[in-house]
């Protein structure tokens, strides 16, 4: 089974980190993975995206034609990517920063108030980890345990103080969907 996911948002939101962690977790679980970042003359506040493919078989193209999942952290990303997701796919929306809804009726929309949830645990910089937690809860692409192992690997070398916060954010996102609050939140946050 080949599953492709596009993560997209502002540069600085940690969009590439979400993709990297997912790819690394997939690798940890013995799957074939590719992680393709968009690159160019990127700046903070500009757009960033990456494509992660996870498969049991060889992955031919790391470029996605019609990804199964799209994670949208800001509004321009929704405009850019909503038409690419395949019919029956899921768009994960950061409900705090996206004040419009996808126009398509053939896809599922999963709204997560990522910034609010992140603020609750201390800083909205962790919104990406909230979203990633919710993403793996919904898709089951990799387990939360694997993701935690990978997170530890990355942050131990990068910035150990931030490990705990990020773990907490993952858990917060993961349990947000578990508690079935998605429906209420979407009513409250999206007008």
């Amino acid at each position: 089974m080949l599953i492709k996911t596009v993560f997209s948002g502002f540069g600085g939101q940690g969009v590439l980190m979400m993709g990297y962690l997912l790819a690394a977790a997939g690798m940890q679980e013995g799957k074939n993975v590719t992680y393709l970042p968009s690159y160019g003359a990127e700046v903070r506040g500009g757009t960033a995206n990456c494509t992660v493919s996870i498969s049991d078989d060889e992955i031919a193209s790391p470029v996605a034609s019609e990804p199964e999942y799209i994670v949208v952290m800001n509004k321009p990303s929704l405009i850019r990517f909503q038409n690419q997701v395949q019919s029956g796919g899921i768009i994960f929306l950061n409900a705090n920063l996206v004040d419009m809804k996808p126009v398509r009726g053939d896809i599922e929309v999963c709204e997560v108030p990522a910034n609010d949830l992140a603020l609750k645990i201390g800083t909205d910089k962790a919104a990406n980890m909230i979203m990633l937690g919710a993403f793996i809860k919904k898709t089951g692409l990799v387990s939360l345990e694997t993701l935690k192992v990978v997170l530890k690997d990355v942050f131990t070398t990068k910035n150990p103080q931030l490990l705990e916060l990020n773990e907490k954010a993952l858990w917060e996102g993961f349990t947000y969907l578990e508690q079935g609050r998605q429906a209420d939140a979407s009513k409250a946050d999206i007008s």
Binding site: Y20, A23, M27, N32, V33, T34, Y35, L36, P37, Y39, G40, A41, A60, S61, P62, V63, A64, S65, E66
Partner: protein, 350 residues
């Protein structure tokens, strides 16, 4: 691991202890990696040269002394290195040169492209020469072929070019390196290391006597013939019952393969021939395929370069179509599958 890092690590494991570079996107991660990695290793030398020209001449020096040496750049920087590559060929010096191609000509852009196929496979610099050109299409292959590039370079005393692009360099995929110790440069009996206790050796590219230069040229030509006979590499995918062959290399081949996987599910009999060595080009394989397959579709991320080699190989034996997207445009497998499908049905193959 990212492609650029994989090349760096593979080079170190192949025994490369000398890296001379000059920054240019999209291969900077390799320079960065070598700066750190060679510093950790005994005997490792990393120099960020003052220019591409200086870097390639440092490569010449290290190679003359018998070291395994590498430099890397991207299209405009590789143009600047061509003089040095010509000298490496003339003096039969092994070296590995990585070109993470970008959209061109001129400064172009930093997006993935295959615009340097001609430059890489036709020599690129002045004089009558060839370089071995390897075109990986995955991060694992970047690592494997980098190690192989050092072996080929030493075996034939020839500069070997790795032709990638920004997508391969920036992309991350799992990589496995072979177990075992780091390789060491093989013993060489021609290096210039000081003539104490032995007769002097000469390595030079200035041969003023035309008769001598001619003999030198024929000697090189015979070497290129040996390489062409022995070192052709390619990947064949689903060609057994194919009615149409897509010919693509590198990044383009990944996209084409994705398209072919889709089309196979729909019952279209399409296969892929992916040259791994761009020079020597897998001509004979193509000729053999043309005995049973009448339609070839060449897809490149340029305005049509390798398609000329396909034409030369097939010599009119089959119909050749070309689909090119120059300038750094990366298409999706879906778009590619539409291109293939339309040709497939136009030609009544379905």
């Amino acid at each position: 691991m990212s492609g650029n890092h994989a090349i760096g690590e593979a080079a170190v494991r192949a025994g490369c202890r000398f890296y001379f570079g000059y920054p240019i996107t999209p291969q900077n991660e390799m320079t960065e990696y070598m700066a750190r990695r060679l510093n950790e290793i005994e005997g490792g030398v990393f120099i960020q040269a003052e220019s591409e020209l200086a870097a390639i001449n440092m490569v010449i020096g290290a190679s003359m002394a018998g070291a395994r040496v590498m430099t890397s750049s991207s299209s405009p920087g590789i143009s600047l290195k061509q003089e040095g590559i010509s000298f490496l060929c003339a003096m039969e010096l092994p070296a590995v040169i990585v070109n993470m191609t970008r959209g061109g000509p001129g400064l172009g852009n930093i997006a993935p492209a295959q615009s340097d196929y001609f430059q890489a496979t036709r020599g690129g610099g002045h004089g009558d020469y060839r370089t071995i050109v390897l075109a990986p299409s995955s991060v694992q292959e970047l690592a494997d072929l980098t190690m192989e590039a050092f072996n080929l370079a030493d075996k034939y005393r020839i500069p070997t070019v790795i032709l990638g692009d920004g997508m391969l360099g920036q992309m991350m995929e799992p990589v496995e390196f072979p177990d075992g110790e780091m390789q060491k440069p093989p013993p060489k009996d021609w290096t210039i290391t000081g003539a104490r206790g032995r007769p002097s050796r000469f390595i030079r590219s200035l041969l003023l006597d035309p008769a001598v230069e001619e003999e030198h040229n024929w000697k090189l030509a015979r070497k290129y013939e040996r390489i062409a006979a022995k070192e052709v590499r390619y990947e064949a995918y689903r060609l057994e019952d194919a009615k149409m062959v897509v010919v693509s290399f590198g990044t383009a081949a990944r996209i084409a393969k994705g398209a072919i996987k889709r089309l196979r599910e729909q019952g279209l009999k399409v296969g892929l021939l992916r040259p791994i060595t761009l020079w020597p080009f897998p001509e004979i394989v193509l000729k053999d395929l043309a005995k049973r397959i009448g339609h070839f579709l060449v897809y490149e991320m340029n305005a049509g370069q390798m398609v000329e080699d396909v034409r030369l190989a097939l010599e009119g034996r089959a119909e050749i179509f070309f689909y090119g997207r120059p300038g750094g445009v990366v298409i999706t497998p879906l778009e590619m599958s539409r291109v293939i499908t339309s040709k497939y049905y136009q030609k009544g193959l379905g």
